[in-house]
């Protein structure tokens, strides 16, 4: 029975370790189960408050659009500093609408001469000077602090760039051609066989 003296403590210690391991495992599983489904986070609400939309003005207009140009411009500004430069880069979106304003047409802009309907349209122009959808602007890069004047300057620059890019002779001429084509088509479909469309000088 000499062997029993050595084996028994070993078996006992092994059983002890095993039991401890099972208890620890059960505790881990229990804690995991308890935590599962629980969450904690720091957050902030990004939604705006509900505020009214006020109609500031209603206007009857007579703007006839013959060419629309969607444009986007990347505009940036840099402020040099001792410890490094500040930079703001924004992407502006706008749609320039070219056409005629019928309110600017002469009184007898459309008249019948013999068997021909003569239509004298006012010159093609940019129908609205406010063509940038500023609320659609995307912020591309920002370093440093920028005030209202800086942002207004960027907006004005984007407007100038869009005007320069889109108000070309080629685009004005395309709008004129399309105006002639569309007016002739429309007036013919109303029942006028001979139609002549021209533009004011």
């Amino acid at each position: 029975m000499k062997w029993n003296r050595y084996i028994t403590p070993t078996v006992l210690s092994l059983t002890g370790y095993l039991l401890t391991a099972i208890i620890v495992l059960a505790m881990v599983v229990g804690v995991f189960h308890y935590i599962k489904g629980s969450s904690i986070s720091i957050s902030k609400d990004d939604r705006i408050d509900v505020t009214p939309n006020q109609i500031a003005s209603i206007k009857n207009i007579a703007e006839w659009e013959f060419l629309s140009i969607n444009d986007e411009e990347l505009v940036d500004t840099v402020r040099r500093g001792f410890f490094g430069d500040d930079e703001l880069v924004r992407i502006y979106y706008g749609t320039l609408r070219l056409g005629i304003n019928l309110n600017k047409a002469e009184d007898d802009w459309i008249k019948v001469e013999k068997d021909t309907l003569i239509c004298k349209l006012p010159p093609i122009e940019l129908l609205d000077e406010n063509f940038i959808d500023e609320a659609q602007t995307r912020s591309f890069f920002e370093e440093g602090k920028w005030n209202a004047k800086d942002k207004q300057r960027l907006y004005e620059r984007a407007r100038t760039m869009m005007r320069k890019r889109c108000m070309t002779k080629a685009n004005i001429s395309t709008a004129e051609e399309n105006a002639k084509e569309q007016f002739s088509k429309m007036l013919t479909s109303i029942g006028n066989k001979n139609v002549k469309v021209t533009f004011e000088e």
């Binding site: 489904g37 629980s38 969450s39 904690i40 986070s41 720091i42 902030k44 609400d45 990004d46 705006i48 408050d49 505020t51 009214p52 939309n53 006020q54 109609i55 500031a56 003005s57 209603i58 206007k59 009857n60 207009i61 007579a62 703007e63 006839w64 659009e65 013959f66 060419l67 629309s68 140009i69 969607n70 444009d71 986007e72 990347l74 992407i91 019928l102 459309i110 008249k111 019948v112 309907l117 129908l127 609205d128 406010n130 063509f131 940038i132 959808d133 500023e134 609320a135 659609q136 995307r138 912020s139 920002e142 209202a148 942002k151 685009n171 395309t174 399309n178 569309q182 479909s189 109303i190």
Partner: protein, 228 residues
């Protein structure tokens, strides 16, 4: 002697392999540099011929406001909780102006839309549509309050709120009555034009496909001005 030459040959071979590996690595990095994508979006210039008669213009003014508070949110044992953290508040008010215009797309006007009998004429115009043509932020009028413990509003955050304000104006279009104004204004523009062609005012009838109800009005917003 043989052993020494074998070692030399082996050394040269190792050097060549190493050289090849390094040179190929160099090429790869060069290729990677060439394959780098320019993150600056391309300038898009989309030109489109059209025939739209804009008849009504609405100017809408809105003050977008936002209260910014940091919260500790979560759930423990399926119980949700939300606690305001004492880190300080941020508040902002952004005034903005939006221009909405209603138009009739006359490129869709065909001979089928024109009915003539004797000296009378009836024109059935295509459905009017509403478009957001511009929006402008009053930068000078923006008011903000930021607690010392918080960082000021970034440009990206401000633009996010402005975009939400714009979307809110679009949602409210059906309640504004702009479509009815557009229909009346379209008739007022076209009747003098047809009169000049020799028709008497009482013999001219401008009509629309149908009377629009509230659900139809939601469909009459020009989707092209929703998202860029």
């Amino acid at each position: 002697m043989k052993k020494t030459s074998y070692i030399h040959a082996l050394f040269i071979a190792v050097c060549l392999v190493a050289l090849c590996v390094f040179s190929s690595c160099g090429n790869k990095s060069q290729e990677q540099t060439e394959a780098t994508i320019d993150t600056i979006p391309m300038m898009v210039l989309q030109i489109q011929k059209c025939n739209k008669l804009y008849t009504t213009e609405y100017h809408v003014h809105k003050i977008v406001t936002h209260d910014d508070e940091v919260k500790l949110k979560g759930s423990i044992l399926k119980q949700d909780f939300s606690i305001n953290l004492p880190l300080g508040k941020r508040k902002i008010a952004i005034p903005m102006d939006v221009t909405l215009k209603a138009y009739v797309d006359l490129s869709k006007l065909t001979e089928k839309n024109i009915k003539k009998s004797g000296d009378k004429i009836e024109i059935i115009l295509p459905d009017p549509k509403v478009m957001l043509t511009s929006s402008k932020i009053d930068h000078e009028g923006v008011k903000q309050f930021v607690a010392l413990t918080r960082s000021s509003f970034s440009d990206e955050e401000l633009l996010k709120y402005e975009k939400q304000g714009r979307d809110d104006v679009i949602k409210s279009i059906p309640k504004m009555g702009i479509i009815r104004s557009a229909q009346v204004s379209a008739a007022n523009t076209l009747i003098p034009l047809i009169q000049q062609m020799g028709y008497k005012e009482e013999n001219i009838k401008i009509s629309f496909r149908k009377e629009f109800n509230f659900n139809d009005l939601k469909m009459l917003f020009d989707q092209t001005s929703i998202e860029k």
